[in-house]
């Protein structure tokens, strides 16, 4: 139960952060990606503040022997840069640039109930499902 409440609170803070930051406003996101137009650099501060604070926080947290509510830290260990990583990231960037939604803001924006957002999220889930099925078949 403690783990579920933790995840709920963390999700709430994350969703609040996205909305405060302007990440749930696709006009702002596409303005940030529009270097050749009227470029809006403000969303760089989301990534900047997010990375700097998380960098410091992770240093403190990972110095502990284990997480408070779990057996061990689950940290990705892969170091290789492969085609799935680069090709997948390239495809993700194209999708992000087309509509202005990355996964977190897409999910958070569902509470607006707007049909186009629902369809975007359904399409996203279908895309994830297709890749998961193909990956599972090896």
């Amino acid at each position: 139960m403690a783990r579920i409440i933790t995840a709920l609170v963390a999700g709430l803070i994350f969703g609040l952060g996205l909305a405060v930051a302007g990440m749930t406003n696709p006009a702002k996101v596409l303005g940030f990606l529009d270097f050749a137009g009227d470029w809006d650099p403000s969303l760089a501060f989301v990534m900047g503040a997010g990375v700097i604070i998380t960098f410091i926080g992770y240093r403190l947290v990972l110095a502990q022997p284990r997480p408070v509510l779990a057996e061990k830290f689950q940290i990705p260990t892969r170091k290789d840069i492969d085609w799935n990583l680069i090709g997948g990231s390239a495809i993700f960037g194209i999708g992000w640039g087309l509509a202005g939604y990355c996964p977190g803001p897409a999910v958070s924006s569902l509470v607006s109930g707007a049909t186009p957002v629902v369809l975007l999220v359904v399409s996203m889930l279908v895309g994830m499902l297709v890749v998961r099925v193909i990956k599972a078949r090896g």
Binding site: G17, K28, Y58, A106
Partner: protein, 140 residues
């Protein structure tokens, strides 16, 4: 100045969430991974699934909390037509599943861990995102 204040505050909240997830549950906070892990063919079950669903419920409640605090939920209307929304969503799903991460998992958490894979991922999706907006807005 104020136009950078809210993005900085938002980034700090996202960082706080990521730090809580690592400190308490030992987990990277990647939204595409949290959501994708609930899908077939090998969906998370039991306690793992409950944690993922709880995070997603929180994510949905975030804008509602902002509406209570500030009187505005911060959600902007879509600005592209439906076919672009559907294509965009599908490509985001395929891409993040292939590369195992998005703006949060690779962007916030990966860069904070100084992961070379995440640096490569972020450089790539920023580049293709910028090129896509350039092509759609200035060439087509």
């Amino acid at each position: 100045m104020s136009q950078f204040l809210l993005p900085t505050l938002g980034g700090a909240l996202i960082a706080l969430s990521s730090i809580i997830m690592m400190a308490m549950l030992g987990r990277i906070t990647g939204i595409s991974g949290i959501v994708g892990g609930l899908l077939p063919p090998a969906p998370a079950r039991g306690a793992d699934a409950a944690v993922r669903v709880a995070f997603i419920v929180g994510l949905l409640a975030g804008p509602l909390l902002l509406a209570v605090i500030a009187g505005n939920n911060g959600i902007g209307a879509p600005i592209v037509e439906l076919p672009m929304m559907i294509a965009g969503g599908f490509l985001v799903g395929v891409g993040t599943a292939l590369s195992a991460g998005c703006t949060s998992g690779h962007g916030i958490c990966g860069l904070s861990r100084l992961s070379p894979r995440s640096f490569a991922a972020v450089m790539t999706f920023m580049a293709t995102g910028i090129v896509t907006v350039f092509v759609v807005r200035h060439l087509l």
